[in-house]
């Protein structure tokens, strides 16, 4: 009975992972095929070729795109962490009139789809002259209701007595925030950091809108360009580029997850 259950469970897991992983594995395999092979519909390349990878870096300035993506994602991550943590601190530890109303208003903005605010945002960025700059790509994403919510929930688990003890001993708010609240919330900060880095890395529509030259464009647009620049798309090259682009994502998830587990364990033992 028990063996059967385990068997079924694992069978299900294997099927699910095959379904989920197949596209990625297939993309990985295509990246080693030449054009003819792709069109023949082979799943396993007959001979592995690195030509596609070389071509990917030659056809579009992939390095530049990667660099841009990295810069933009990093700035957004940093901006979100700073602004969300400061806002969450105010929502938890400072007492002021209308605090909760303001917080719910802030949460309510999560109901507005990002696309709906795209045009006003675009006009603002345009008026500020931020088109084709890192500023235009990053600043609109600094304020994140989700980030504020996530950190507020974590900050709320910090005993209020710690804040009161700090107040009594004359420790300033910022020092308390920096030396006590942030170190105690490392887990949530890493979660939010990974999340915001990845969402920014995968962003497509906004960079497409506010950039029109290679100097600041991000990788996702680069990928799209590869498909349209040629009359017939060379799928091998595109897939090679895709693999290059998702590598940092996977790496970050991997590292981040390890950190997350560590953080969660610490909390449990304490």
């Amino acid at each position: 009975m028990n063996v059967l259950r385990t068997f079924l469970l694992y069978a299900l897991l294997v099927i699910c992972s095959v379904v989920v992983l197949f596209p990625i594995v297939y993309a990985f395999l295509i990246s080693f095929m030449d054009g003819a092979e792709v069109l023949q519909g082979h799943i396993w390349p007959q001979k592995f070729t690195m030509k596609n990878y070389v071509a990917a870096f030659q056809k579009v300035p992939l390095f530049e795109y990667l660099f841009n993506s990295f810069i933009v994602s990093f700035i957004v991550m940093l901006g979100q962490l700073i602004i969300s943590s400061l806002a969450a601190f105010a929502f938890v530890f400072l007492k002021f009139k209308g605090r909760d109303v303001l917080f719910f208003l802030c949460i309510a903005t999560m109901l507005i789809p990002w696309e709906a605010t795209m045009i006003p945002n675009f006009l603002t960025v345009q008026k500020l002259g931020w088109l084709n700059s890192y500023l235009g790509l990053t600043v609109p994403f600094f304020a994140s209701a989700f980030g504020i919510f996530l950190l507020r929930q974590h900050f709320k688990t910090i005993p209020l007595e710690l804040y009161e003890a700090a107040q009594v001993s004359g420790v300033g708010r910022f020092r308390f925030f920096w030396n006590i609240v942030l170190p105690l919330s490392r887990t949530s900060l890493i979660t939010l950091g990974v999340y915001s880095f990845l969402t920014t890395w995968n962003m497509y529509l906004w960079p497409l809108l506010v950039t029109n030259n290679d100097r600041v464009r991000t990788v996702q647009i680069g990928l799209k360009q590869m498909q349209s620049q040629e009359i017939s798309t060379e799928w091998g090259v595109v897939m090679a580029a895709v693999i290059v682009v998702i590598l940092p994502t996977l790496l970050l998830l991997f590292v981040g997850q390890k950190h997350l587990q560590k953080g969660l364990m610490q909390g449990a033992i304490k």
Partner: protein, 368 residues
């Protein structure tokens, strides 16, 4: 050392119901002052108002003669120990102790010196590099104390600091805190719900009930002269025996026809009153004594003393406390006597009936 004074202080959270009613008290410099009362009586609220963590709805709080109602906690020059210690879990003991010192413009060397001094005083020297979670409850408690004393603040507030410790450790910390306070000469305001802590530690104490001060005074004064039935039953363990009685000339009539004769220590009122007697004042009668016979309901032998629960009337059980070990069993009938100077009389509404009997003072000395 500074005096703390509360003048007609009220506190209300919702603007309608007062949690603290018209509280006026003056706490002397260097005094160990205990706020004691059952849960929810407002004692922590008072402490937090003094600390500046709660606003004062009306009234004045003076520290060292200066009104501090609007002053933030950090400028009141006091330290505080919290019930759950409020240690920063990710900092070492040393960092915990010195964390609050930077604001006071104290050099690193002086910080280190004070930290070592406090650690030594509290036996924490070996643990300075440990994190709070590696410490036992008593050690954490000491870290919290050390953090309070390194500031060299003249006033220290403590909010039930011992309630998370086991009984043995609590007794030990009780005397340690008391000694520390004496040595440093700081003014201590100490909140507790435990009347034993209050009795053993306080220079003076205030008993609170439902946001009102019931009585302020030295522990023994309060023990011997409780101002109402609440104080009488709250202070002392087991509590004071109380029973309703009618006064008929020199007789006290209890329900179910039990009567006791008094010779010269008469209540000043002749109506229905409440009679109170401390358990240690109920003795086994000698043949010559005026006595009454009561049925024993329960006996608890504690080694040094024996608690005998007996039937005063059908529904009312009183407890007598005799020192030593007594071989008495439930169901036995025993002759008991009460020194009549030990009787306290309260009005039906609970207030102590005023009386002054010269023999009372003598009686008090006898029982101490």
């Amino acid at each position: 050392m500074e005096q703390i004074e509360l003048v007609h202080v009220y506190k209300s959270y919702n603007g309608k119901d007062n949690v603290i009613h018209d509280l006026s008290v003056s706490i002397e410099p260097g005094e160990f002052f205990v706020l004691v009362g059952p849960s929810g009586c407002g004692k922590s609220t008072i402490l937090r108002m003094i600390a500046g963590l709660e606003t004062i709805t009306s009234g004045t709080l003076l520290i060292g003669g200066i009104e501090v109602n609007e002053l933030p906690p950090s400028e009141r020059n006091l330290s505080m120990v919290f019930q759950n210690y409020a240690l920063y879990p990710h900092l070492t003991v040393e960092q915990n102790i010195t964390f609050g010192l930077y604001k006071k413009k104290i050099s690193k060397q002086e910080q280190k010196k004070r930290c070592l001094e406090a650690a030594e005083m509290l036996g924490l020297t070996d643990f300075l590099k440990h994190k709070p979670r590696q410490l036992s409850g008593g050690q954490r408690q000491r870290v919290a104390l050390a953090r309070a004393i390194v500031t060299h603040a003249p006033i220290c507030l403590m909010d039930e600091p011992l309630s998370n410790l086991d009984a043995k450790l609590r007794a030990k910390m009780r005397s340690e805190i008391r000694q520390l306070q004496r040595r440093l000469g700081i003014t201590m305001i100490y909140v507790t719900h435990d009347q034993v802590e209050a009795m053993t530690m306080a220079d003076r104490m205030m008993i609170l009930h439902e946001g009102r001060a019931q009585q302020i005074g030295a522990p023994l004064d309060i023990y011997n002269h409780p101002s109402n039935t609440f104080v009488a039953s709250f202070i002392g363990s087991p509590p004071m025996n109380l029973a309703k009685a009618k006064v008929l000339e020199s007789l006290l009539l209890f329900d179910n026809g039990r009567a006791m004769r008094l010779h010269h220590h008469l209540p000043p009122s002749t109506q229905q009153i409440i009679v109170g007697v401390r358990p240690e004042h109920i003795r086994l009668a000698k043949p010559s004594d005026d006595h009454f016979i009561a049925k024993v309901v329960n006996v608890e032998v504690l080694g040094t003393e024996t608690l005998v629960t007996f039937e005063l009337t059908k529904n009312e059980h009183w407890i007598a406390r005799w020192s030593g070990q007594w071989n008495i069993h439930a169901g036995e009938k025993v002759p008991l006597t009460i020194d009549e100077t030990a009787f306290l009389f309260f009005h039906e509404n609970g207030q102590r009936l005023d009386h002054s009997i010269p023999s009372y003072a003598a009686g008090k000395g006898e029982h101490q």
